[in-house]
Amino acid sequence: MAVKNKSYGRVLAVLYYIGIVLAVLAAAECIPLATSILAGETKFIWIFTASVSLLLLAAAILVLSGARYRALHLSSGEGMAVASGAWLLGMLLCALPYAFSGNYLSYLDSCFDVMSGLTTTGIGMVQDLDHLSVGLNMWRFLLTYIGGQGMVVLALVFLTKNTDSAYKMYVGEAKDERLMPGAVNTARAIWRISLLYLAVGWAVMAAAGVYAGLPLGTAVLHGVWIFMSGWSTGGFAPMSQNILYYHSFVYELATLVFFTIGSFNFALHYAVLRGDRRELRRNIETVSFTITLSCLSLLAAFGLMKNGVYPNLAALFRKGFYQMISGHTTTGFMSVYARQFYHEWGDVALFAITIAMLFGGSACSTAGGFKGLRIGIIFKAIGAEIRKYTLPESRVVQTRIHHVRDLPLTQEMVHSAFVIVTLYLITFAVGTAAGLGAGYSLAESAFESASATGNVGLTIGVTSPANPAFLKITYILIMWLARLEFISVLTLAAKFVRKVVKR
């Protein structure tokens, strides 16, 4: 009985922390509420009042239920359960404004868009985007920004102590860099970096908007939204034509700079901001990203030129390279229409961009995909393996990688990289099979699955409100699993199954 009570208390402690995360989300939802008040959007003032209240109510109930057990030290599994549970419940409750708005055909579509935003994917189900309310748009981009840095990371900012439990939750959200001693200090450092870039990026994007011809007020609003989306490698835009709407090379270039920087590891940002600029050249992730981006861009350019898709080099850069880097950084901003990929790009370019989407950005960043760190580790391991058989047996060579500091390449690193990449590939295969099951071609299914698996947001035109429910649910699960890098969600599922089996 005592054991059962102890286990019960531990579940309640997990619920307590999920409640804290939801409370922070409710506080964040006050920003779109304030936006709707300022914009005079009566309907959305009521929508956000109701949604904030319901989110707070759920948070209060969870906190109440677990307050007594909050001092318990969470295990690694419980920390992961907090992270994955918060993302799941967060999705269900953050979808309320969407569901009440009338801009979504179903609650499932609303949940899809929230998960797409939180995971910084950027494929969507919204209806009539060109007439969307300012408040609802603010919520879409805020969710992307919070999801990019991590909603658990945001909640940790408000904790007062660097507990062991805090670190377990931090790791549960697929972030394992310690920028500073303690998870709470690290979370605060991550948010400080993001807010610093927000101030700079907002100003730059607003100026680029004015240059592109937007009225000042609109340029300021679009500036903060596009920055939040770009920095978080999200891919949402306030207009249905995405980045093509602006018809401006300068605007595209500004987004390109911010989403590329956003896809870098927070540890790299921290090192560079502290004055170590050499880290930019030496870090295994920037080296890996530069090599894979160059190779895949050349391959895509070859495919596009072979098919004569674009009339000149400027067009090749603005359409070919922009989409490629947008895919590789897992951003998903588009300056072409979705169906142009399918009808015009050809197999070679489509193959290159699909691979780029799977490779993704850096670990402990806002980006998704395999991550540059793992790709670097895998290639280093392959190189070490080849060297082992080509050098004299008596010679022992230790392989090292540089990630903030020089590290020996260990078996544990290689094993972990291979496990996660394998899980990504299985997920990609499942997503592709689901697309095929829904009647799409292999190229379409693989492209869209890579986009969901890599949390990218580029679309070939598969994702739509007309999709069957099973495909939408599959993509939601894929985005959730991939964003948390599988282990957290699988731990939550295992705990749930174990409870059911015990009964």
Binding site: E41, L129, P311
Partner: protein, 168 residues
């Protein structure tokens, strides 16, 4: 017999001419242009849609994005003087002016960095825009008030409870 056939043709002529004229000026949709971009590339097309967002000036010219279906829009490059006749642009609470554009369609415009666009030769205003503020559903305010009261109550209890177990 011949006379009968000629008479019939004379009777049908106005009908045939009308159908032909309609076909020549029949508007295509943005979705059709995107889907069959290679077929329409370099051809003169006519499209009708609601001007949305903002007019983006480019010297003597301007970009106007028009939408003709849910989440399907296309950029029109037109003279600034043509753009000036657009008084209302669609956004939340506003339905923009509806315009009809005849111009050259480009799958990947060499002049505009590969944009899929239309260079307008003629722009006409079809209908003026209007306010279209969505109504607030009757159930929404009561839901907001009740949930706000409940949330306030539960949050107060939760804060007191957390303070009671403040051992951490």
């Amino acid at each position: 017999m011949k006379l009968r056939l000629s008479f019939l043709l004379v009777l049908l002529l106005p009908v045939l001419l009308t159908v032909n004229a309609q076909a020549a000026s029949a508007a295509v949709t943005s979705a059709e242009l995107i889907e069959k971009a290679a077929d329409y590339d370099g051809r003169t097309v006519t499209i009708e849609g609601e001007a949305v967002g903002s007019i983006l000036p480019r010297g003597e010219y301007a970009w106007v994005n028009i939408t003709d279906q849910n989440n399907s829009a296309i950029g029109i490059f037109m003279k600034a003087s043509d753009a000036a006749q657009i008084k209302m642009l669609g956004c939340y609470g506003l339905t923009g002016d509806r315009i009809r554009v005849t111009g050259t369609f480009y799958r990947a415009c060499a002049e505009h960095g590969g944009d899929l666009d239309i260079h307008a030769a003629r722009v006409t205003l079809v209908s003026a825009g209007h306010a279209s503020i969505p109504a607030t559903p009757a159930w929404l305010p009561p839901l907001a008030v009740v949930s706000a009261v409940l949330a306030a109550g539960f949050c107060t209890i939760a804060v007191l409870r957390v303070k009671r177990y403040n051992t951490f």
